[in-house]
Assembly symmetry: C2
Homo-oligomer: 479 residues x 2
C-alpha cells in the first residue's frame, strides 16, 4: 500500500499541524502547579472531536480530567496512551526563551512539554486525521487514554483503569515515550523500568536555630547526609542490605537484544557535558547497566537557607527526594522495606520515609503485533532499523494501562524527541522535522496494526473481536 498521498497530506498540512502543537505548548499545563489544567483538557478533547474521535471526559475525585476517545473499527483494538500535562519548568533563568513561548528556532520548537509529550499527542491525532483524509476509516479501533497527571504519578489514571478494566482490553498499546539517539537512530521501547519515588526526612529543633548552637544541638542536615551516605557507595553502587539479591538475572532473550544496542558514548558525553560514566563503565557493560541496572537517584535535597546571602542557621528539617528505578524482580514494596530495615539497623530509625508514588515495571516481547508494526514502520520511515530497548530506563504508568489484564497488554513506545530534547530539564525542545516524520510513522503503524499478522505463536488478545463498550463508570462524570 502506498503512503504517497498520506505523506503529501502531512507535508501540505505541516504548518497547521505545527501551529496546533505550538498552541498546545503555549498552555502551561504543569500538573504540579495545577492551573489551566481544565482548559487544556477541553482543548485536547475538542481537537479529538474535530477529527471524528468520539470522546468522553472523566474525573476521579478532584483529579485532572482523563479523556477517553475512540475511533476506527475492525477486529483489532489498540490503546493509545498520551498525557497533556508537563513537568515543572525549574529555574526560569536556565531557559533561553520562555518555557511556554513555543518559539521555533533553527527548526527546533522550544517548550516545556514539547518532547514530553505534547509533540507525540499532536502527532498521533494528526496521523489519524491524515489517515482518514487519505485512506478513509481506520482499519483498527484506537482507544485514546489521555491523562493530565503524568507528572504526579498518575493517581487518577490508576483508579480509573482499575475501575474500568474492560476498557483496557486490547491487542496492544502505543506508548508516547521515545526519541532518536545521538546517531539519529530511533529507539523503540517494549517496556519501562518501574519506579518508586520517596522522600526522606530528618527532624531537628522546632525551627531553624542560630548556628551558634551547632556544637551541641543535633543537626538534621548532618543526620540526613550520614543516612544517605550509607545507601550508595562513593562509586555509585546501591549498598542497601539485601538489595542486589532481589534483582532477577537478565534472560537469554534480553541478553540477545542488548547485544544489538550501542550507546553513542562520545556523543552523549558531549551532549550532557560530562567527563565519564559511573564507575568508568563503557561498551556492553554500560548498555546493560543503563537498561537493566536499578537506580537510586537523589532528585533533590533541601535543608536550611540556600538563597542569596549568608544565613548561618542550624536547620529544623532536612529532606531528600530519591527515585529508585525498578528492574525485574524489584518492586516498590521490596525497596521501601529493605531501605527501612537498612536505616533502622544503622541507628537511623528517626529518618522518616514518605512514599510519594510508584509504578511497576512493564516489559513485553518484540514479537507482539504492536511491536512489529512499530518496528517495521520505523524502519520504513527512517530508512534504517530502530534500536529496540527491551525495557526503557524511564518509567510511566504503563502498569495502569497494560497491567490490568492478564497477560499484560504488549506495548511499543516511541516518540518525537531526539538526543538533545532534554525532556525534564531547561530548553526542552523537539525538531519540527521529527514531529512531521512521526506523523508519517504513525500512519504506517495504524495500517500495519490491521494488516500484519503477529509472528508470535501467542498473541494474548488475538481473538478479542468486539470493541469494548464505553465505560460504565464508578468514576464521576465530567465536570
Amino acid at each position: 500500500m502506498s503512503f504517497i498521498k498520506f505523506d503529501r497530506y502531512v507535508d501540505r498540512h505541516a504548518r497547521s499541524f505545527t501551529e496546533r502543537l505550538q498552541n498546545l505548548c503555549r498552555m502551561p499545563s504543569v500538573a504540579a502547579r495545577g492551573s489551566g489544567m481544565r482548559v487544556i483538557a477541553e482543548t485536547v478533547e475538542q481537537s479529538m472531536q474535530r477529527i471524528g474521535i468520539g470522546t468522553r471526559s472523566f474525573r476521579v475525585g478532584s483529579g485532572y480530567p482523563i479523556i477517553y476517545g475512540e475511533c476506527g473499527g475492525g477486529p483489532k483494538t489498540f490503546v493509545v496512551y498520551g498525557h497533556y500535562d508537563v513537568q515543572p519548568v525549574g529555574q526560569l533563568s536556565d531557559w533561553s526563551s520562555g518555557p511556554f513561548a513555543a518559539t521555533i528556532e533553527d527548526g527546533k520548537l522550544y517548550a516545556r512539554g514539547a518532547a514530553n509529550s505534547k509533540g507525540d499527542l499532536v502527532a498521533r491525532l494528526a496521523a489519524v486525521e491524515a489517515y482518514q483524509k487519505t485512506f478513509g476509516k481506520l482499519p483498527v479501533t484506537l482507544r485514546f487514554i489521555i491523562e493530565g497527571e503524568d507528572g504526579l504519578g498518575s493517581p487518577s489514571l490508576y483508579r480509573f483503569t482499575a475501575e474500568n478494566a474492560e476498557l483496557l482490553k486490547a491487542d496492544g498499546c502505543l506508548w508516547d515515550e521515545g526519541s532518536s539517539d545521538t546517531k539519529e537512530t530511533p529507539i523503540i521501547s517494549l517496556g519501562f523500568k518501574g519506579i518508586t519515588f520517596l522522600e526522606l526526612r530528618a527532624f531537628g529543633p522546632r525551627s531553624d536555630l542560630h548556628s551558634k548552637w551547632g556544637a551541641i544541638v543535633p543537626n538534621p542536615a548532618w543526620r540526613l547526609v550520614q543516612a544517605l551516605a550509607t545507601i550508595t557507595s562513593p562509586k555509585g553502587v546501591i549498598t542497601i542490605d539485601g538489595f542486589s539479591s532481589h534483582i532477577a538475572p537478565i534472560s537469554d532473550e534480553d541478553s540477545e537484544v542488548l547485544r544489538a544496542i550501542e550507546l553513542d558514548e562520545a556523543g552523549l558525553k558531549r551532549e550532557f557535558r560530562i567527563g565519564g560514566w559511573v564507575r568508568a563503565m563503557k561498551g556492553p557493560m554500560l548498555v546493560k547497566e543503563h537498561i537493566f541496572g536499578p537506580t537510586c537517584t537523589i532528585c533533590g535535597i533541601h535543608t536550611g537557607h540556600t538563597e542569596a546571602g549568608a544565613k548561618t542557621v542550624l536547620p529544623s528539617m532536612a529532606m531528600a527526594r530519591l527515585d529508585f528505578r525498578l528492574v525485574p524482580d524489584l518492586t516498590a514494596q521490596i525497596v521501601v522495606g529493605l531501605l527501612r530495615e537498612h536505616l533502622d539497623i544503622r541507628g537511623f530509625k528517626d529518618i522518616e520515609i514518605i512514599e510519594l508514588g510508584s509504578a511497576p515495571l512493564a516489559k513485553s516481547s518484540a514479537k507482539s503485533r504492536v511491536a512489529r508494526a512499530v518496528i517495521e514502520s520505523t524502519a520504513e520511515v527512517y530508512g534504517k532499523p530502530p534500536l529496540i530497548y527491551p525495557m526503557d530506563p524511564s518509567s510511566g504508568p504503563v502498569g495502569a494501562v497494560c497491567g490490568v489484564s492478564e497477560p499484560p497488554t504488549p506495548i511499543a513506545s516511541f516518540g518525537t524527541g531526539y538526543a538533545g530534547s532534554n525532556p525534564h530539564g531547561p530548553n526542552e525542545n523537539i525538531r519540527v522535522e521529527d514531529f512531521l516524520k512521526s506523523i508519517k510513522l504513525i500512519g504506517r503503524v495504524i495500517h500495519k496494526l490491521a494488516a500484519s499478522k503477529s509472528k508470535a505463536a501467542i498473541d494474548p488478545h488475538e481473538d478479542s473481536k468486539s470493541t469494548a463498550p464505553l465505560p460504565k463508570v464508578k468514576t464521576e462524570p465530567r465536570i
Copy 2:
C-alpha cells in the same frame, strides 16, 4: 550615685522608646536583599543627631552606610558597636505575624531584627538620651560604629576600620550580642568564636537530566553527600584530618570561668523541642562543648527539584553551605586548607570550596574596665550576678572593631534578648520589659565606665587621653 531619676525618665518614656523601636523594626532592612538600606541608615543617623550625637556617615564602595557617632567627653573612650541590618526572614509561612509588622503581643515585640539587634541599638541611644536628661553630659566619650552589613560578613566595616584604625583606639568596646538564658540569668560575653562560611559545590551534567540516566550518569548530589559524610562522623564529631590538633587547650582562667556556667538543659530542650544533645552530652561537658567546641554546621543544602510535585531529575549541581565556628587557635585559613587536603586525599578533588566570608575569634578578660562596668551594672539591674561567657558561641565582626589595635580592645557584649528570642529563625522577638531594663542597665554602664577603676594591672589604653579626631578617610564621603 542614685539612678532613681534616670529610671523614672525611662519609665515615663517607655512608650515612646518602644514606638521608636517598632518604627525601626518596620523597616525591612535585610542586608541580603538590599532594599531600603539607605533609608534606614538615614533614620538611624537622624535619631542619633536628635539626642546630640555628632555623626558622619561613610560608604565603602557600594556598601551600605557606616554611621559613626560621637558624644560625651572625659578621659576615657569606649566604642559602641551596632548594626541596623537584619537577617533574611526565611519562610514567611513560619511566622505568626508579618516579620516587619512589629506587633506587640503578651508583652513581646515580634519582628525580624528585634533581638538581633535593633532592640539593642535603640536601647543604647535611649540610654544616652536618658543620661543626658537626668545627669547631663556623658562622663566618657562614646564612639558609635553602626553598620548595615552584619548579615553579609561586614565587608565594609573591615575596610573602614582598617583604613581608620585611629578611630577605634578605645578603652573598651560595648558589643550588642546577648540575652538572658532560660533561667532568666543575663549572659555577658567577653568575646566571640570566629567563623568561616563556605559553600561546597559538586557538578554533574550541563543541566538537570531525566533521572532515567541515573544508572550511568554521575550524580553531583550523591557526590556531595559522599564528600560531606567524610567531614563529620555520625556522632557529630568533626573528622577532617588534622583538625583537632589545631585546637588550643582551654586555659586555667577559662576553665575556672566555665565552672560557673550552667546550661538550663531541660529548659533549652523544651525551647528547641529536641530530645537530647549531640553525643548525649550533659553537665560541664555540654557547657565546655557549647562555648569552646569548634563547629561544622550544615546551614543549607540545595540540589535538584525540591518544590511541590514529583520531578524525577538527576541534578546538574549540588551545593552545601557550611559554617565552621572557630575556637583558639583555629583560623579560617587553617580550616579551609585542612578541608581541601582532606577532600583531595579521598578523591573529592572535584568538590569546589568557595569562601563566602569569615571573621576571626575575639576573647578578652573579665577584669577589663568595660567588662567590670557591665558585670556590676547587670548585677544591680537584674538583682543577680550574670553568667560570664569567656567566648560567646556566636560570631561577629569583633575583630574589625577591637582587633585593629594591639593589644586588642577589651569587650563586653550583652543584649535585650531572652531564651525565646529565636534571633535567626521565625517569630524573632524580645520582651518589651527586657528592652526597658536594658536601657536602665546601659545608663549604669555609662556611669561606671567613667567612675570605676579597672582592677586589672594593665588596661591597654588607660592613658589615652584625647578623643580621636574624626577620621580622615580614604573611605568615600556619604552619598
